[in-house]
Symmetry: C2
Subunit: 163 residues, 2 copies
């Protein structure tokens, strides 16, 4: 199936929050996100990577304006669950390439990561689906990141959107 | 914007692999995925959560048939990069809900996680985009997980696809 990258988007003014070392057992994710939902907090990305032992970290990326409320909710749960704690950063942006076909073909992902690497932009978080690869970077790099991907993927002027 | 979950899909016969404690600096993701790409290895999910200090883990989810080759590639790089090592598991399945609107509204995510929690299915990995929430679980739970989500989201018969 042909892989076609159709555009790059960026969300500035984002924040990342991680609740660290929560118990890695059924019901925990439901608890965390049930609590966020009850506060009306909207989330862009949910990222849970491989854990170690019987704990793991859960990271969310959301609009900067929701950060304090989300941190408050997660801290309360962190105590309840005897997790390690909550860390957060108010200075990130989310840059994504979207397309059809298997966008997560390593060749496509590698190309996006290389575009950022060439400009010395550190990739802080990665989350993907079949049609989208999202990288979270420091917000100071967002314009350069969008330009870089745009250039390296030779995307037409129409395809560049800064959200 | 109205959130509509339109279906649940499942990919059985998957594997997860993590390369642990790679340097968290520009160029590393490009290196890892460049190498996988050169081997022709196709990847379903790429997950990088919050790191600690100046290292982080990178997890991939891919078809079981590619696991050995991918582990080999990543082990070589792990030595080169002086990472902690590579861990893997050949027994996972990926279950996703797809839809329109902000599928990552905490309410929607919470509902999916609760569906799995009610059946005591542990969520091993989570990766999301605006239109898709993917959970990686042990493969023995896949049929039950699809049924659970189908029921709890009241999805019509048309909407359930086992890939
Ligand atoms: C950490 C969290 O995802 C947990 N494994 C759960 O299933 O809810
Ligand atoms: C770990 C990896 O994503 C690294 N931060 C990079 O930018 O390549």
């Amino acid at each position: 199936e042909k892989v076609v990258v159709t555009g790059v988007t960026a969300d500035k003014d984002m924040a990342k929050i991680a609740i660290q070392k929560v118990p890695d057992r059924p019901g925990i994710a439901a608890k965390l996100f049930g609590a966020l939902a009850r506060e009306g907090i909207s989330v862009h990305l949910i990222i849970q990577s491989i854990g170690e032992g019987n704990v793991t970290d859960v990271t969310i990326v959301l609009k900067r304006e929701y950060m304090e409320r989300a941190v408050e909710v997660l801290r309360r749960l962190s105590k309840q669950l005897k997790a390690q704690g909550v860390i957060f950063d108010a200075n990130v942006a989310e840059v994504s390439i979207v397309g059809s076909g298997m966008v997560t073909e390593p060749g496509v992902a590698a190309r996006m990561f290389r575009a950022l690497a060439k400009r010395k932009i550190n990739i802080e978080l990665i989350s993907t689906s079949h049609i989208r690869i999202s990288c979270v970077i420091h917000k100071r790099h967002v314009r350069e990141a969008v330009r870089a991907i745009h250039e390296d993927f030779k995307l037409g002027k129409l395809k560049r959107r800064l959200a």
